[in-house]
């Protein structure tokens, strides 16, 4: 187990380094921050630009700057926003709870929907209920996230003005983005539950449980569901990157004050330190979740460790 842990941890660190390197490099390509910073400052000489570059440490080689960025990141320092000079770490700290709230509420909603539906589909494999659920989930996978968001706004804010269309207006604002995300997630999760459940249902202990005369509900939700929890968590862990990607877009459509909106506003304002910091933090979250899932899996199933 120790070896497995260390190997996985090193892998995770390597991936975070690759991401931060790529992102820093992309930000470097964006042009000269000295020119951006000095815009609107009247007449600027080449000497002024040099001074700004020196002040920001931009006159040093890229690798040195990258090493500095990583070193600063380790103590939670992501630099300052180009616009207004607020520390990036504080902006991220302010936005993170909103993103986590949206992610967890929609994940929970989606589990509540997709587990019973997936189980029903698996139990009725090949029958009408299964076909119906499969078609619906396929339809759900076939339109862009943001379009669903627009359609919900059209329906629930414009045609029937029940919910606020965007922004933060108290907890009620959470309903629409969470609903959108939950529907999107459910389309995938129903299929995952169905597949995992089909594998589990053919196991012998299920036959035993049934022949003992246990109620079908107990067999399905107690015996079968518990046993497909592990593959399910793994699948969902693998999907987590996609989840965050979708979340980022949905946040933007609803102007939800989370990391996604922060990132897009940074793109629009060419505020590269903020963009760099946000992408880095989101990547670390994704890598950390994958790592935790793997470790949990390794703890439960010894075969994984030795692979």
């Amino acid at each position: 187990m120790g070896g497995f842990l260390i190997k996985r941890l090193l892998q995770a660190i390597f991936v975070v380094l690759v991401v931060t390197f790529l992102v820093s490099y992309a930000v470097r390509l964006s042009g000269d921050p000295a020119i951006m910073l000095s815009q609107g400052a009247g007449s600027v000489t080449e000497q002024d630009l040099q001074n700004i570059r020196k002040g920001l440490g931009l006159d040093r080689p890229f690798l040195v700057q990258y090493a500095d960025f990583v070193r600063a990141m380790l103590v939670g320092d992501f630099g300052q926003s180009f616009l207004g000079g607020t520390p990036v770490a504080r902006l991220i700290g302010d936005a993170l709870p909103a993103t986590l709230a949206l992610a967890s509420v929609s994940l929970l909603l989606s589990v509540l929907v997709s587990v019973p539906l997936g189980i029903q589909a698996a139990v009725n494999k090949g029958k009408r209920a299964d076909q119906f659920i499969r078609i619906i989930s396929l339809v759900g996978l076939s339109f862009p996230n943001f379009w669903l968001a627009i359609m919900l706004v059209l329906l629930l804010s414009i045609t029937f003005p029940l919910l606020p269309p965007s922004g933060w207006d108290g907890p009620i604002s959470l309903v629409m983005p969470a609903l959108t995300m939950a529907l999107i997630l459910s389309a995938t999760n129903v299929r995952l539950v169905r597949t995992a459940m089909l594998e589990t249902l053919s196991a012998q202990y299920i036959m035993v449980a049934r022949s003992k005369g246990l109620k079908e509900r107990v067999v399905l939700y107690k015996h079968a569901l518990r046993n497909c929890a592990i593959p399910l968590i793994t699948y969902i862990g693998l999907q987590f990157g996609n989840l965050i990607g979708g979340l980022v877009v949905v946040e933007k459509v609803f102007n939800w004050p989370g990391l996604g909106t922060l990132a897009f506003d940074a793109i629009a304002g060419r505020d590269y330190p903020v963009l760099q910091g946000t992408v880095t933090v989101l990547s670390i979250i994704i890598v950390a979740v994958n790592l935790l899932v793997d470790i949990a899996y390794g703890l439960v199933d010894p075969r994984i460790r030795t692979k």
Partner: protein, 287 residues
């Protein structure tokens, strides 16, 4: 491949019915959408950008002139949806073609020769599986600018690994099969071996992956364009139209509804086909 034997013994009647329904529906949807989009060049030579200012914001299903209504500039929504589809479909097909050709070649070499290149490929796979690509892509595209070429390039770079991984895995098992060993004993050269004996045996699952990825990339393109990171907003495209339509949501719902419906029908058709292919070719393959 003995996939037929490993297929789960499903209750035959209904399952067959469902499968053929899936195929008919998928082929019909994607066929009709493809034909409409590809022939729109002749049906609406320039109506996508023609502004009928007298008929601005006309309601859908009210006039024969503009069946799906017009946008605030008086442009026909139906024409724009069909013309805009060309960009989306092109991005979907070209990116998948590029990624699959690259991935298949690398996967074949890695799986057949093993060694250093194989190891390098597997490390790429590790990184790709763990990398939040959409975020890295957003960063790069926001800085380098979107545009057709950049989007396609980004899709190829981020997706070839999927094909390479799939092909490599299958080559590993195919190369140990008797017919390959027999061919080797006959002195068949490596290149001919890869082309005639190995490639045809790994192509099935690759085609499934390609179908599903065309669908995926159409969605991805529309998302990127919607966010202003994709195709030039002046060129009509599904994502771009949705971004426009969002501004007029209060007054003209049809401007943002119909492009989305077009995306959904096309992608649903492709997904159905992909699903059907998976059942047909190899139900055990995990994609």
């Amino acid at each position: 491949m003995n996939s037929m034997q490993t297929a789960a013994p499903a209750p035959a009647g209904r399952s067959m019915q469902w499968r053929s329904l899936e195929f008919v529906l998928g082929a019909l949807l994607s066929g009709v959408m493809l034909t409409l989009v590809l022939t729109s060049v002749w049906i609406f030579p320039d109506r996508g950008s023609l502004m009928d200012l007298a008929a601005r914001l006309s309601q859908p299903f009210a006039h024969w002139d503009h069946v799906l209504g017009t946008d605030p500039l008086g442009r026909d929504v139906l024409a724009r949806v069909l013309v805009g589809g060309r960009i989306s479909l092109m991005v979907g097909f070209v990116s998948v073609l590029g990624a699959s050709v690259l991935g298949i070649a690398i996967g074949l070499v890695a799986g057949y020769y093993r060694g250093f290149w194989d190891m390098l490929l597997m490390r790429c796979v590790d990184v790709q599986l763990a990398l939040p690509f959409i975020l890295v892509a957003l960063t790069f595209i926001s800085i380098l600018g979107g545009g057709l070429g950049n989007i396609i390039l980004f899709m190829v770079v981020s997706q070839w690994v999927q094909y390479a991984r799939l092909v490599r895995g299958m080559v590993l098992s195919v190369r140990e099969r008797e017919f390959v060993q027999a061919a080797r004993a006959f002195g068949v050269r490596d290149l001919a071996m890869l082309r005639h004996h190995i490639l045809p045996n790994v192509l099935g699952p690759v085609i499934i992956l390609m179908t599903l990825n065309v669908a995926n990339n159409i969605l991805l393109e529309s998302s990127l364009t919607f966010l202003g990171l994709g195709v030039d907003p002046l060129i009509p495209s599904w994502g771009g139209m949705l971004a426009d339509g969002r501004t007029y949501m209060q007054t003209a719902w049809w401007v943002s509804v119909f492009p989305g419906v077009a995306i959904m029908l096309t992608v649903l058709g492709l997904n159905l086909l992909g699903d059907w292919l998976r059942d047909r070719i190899d139900p055990t393959v995990k994609l």
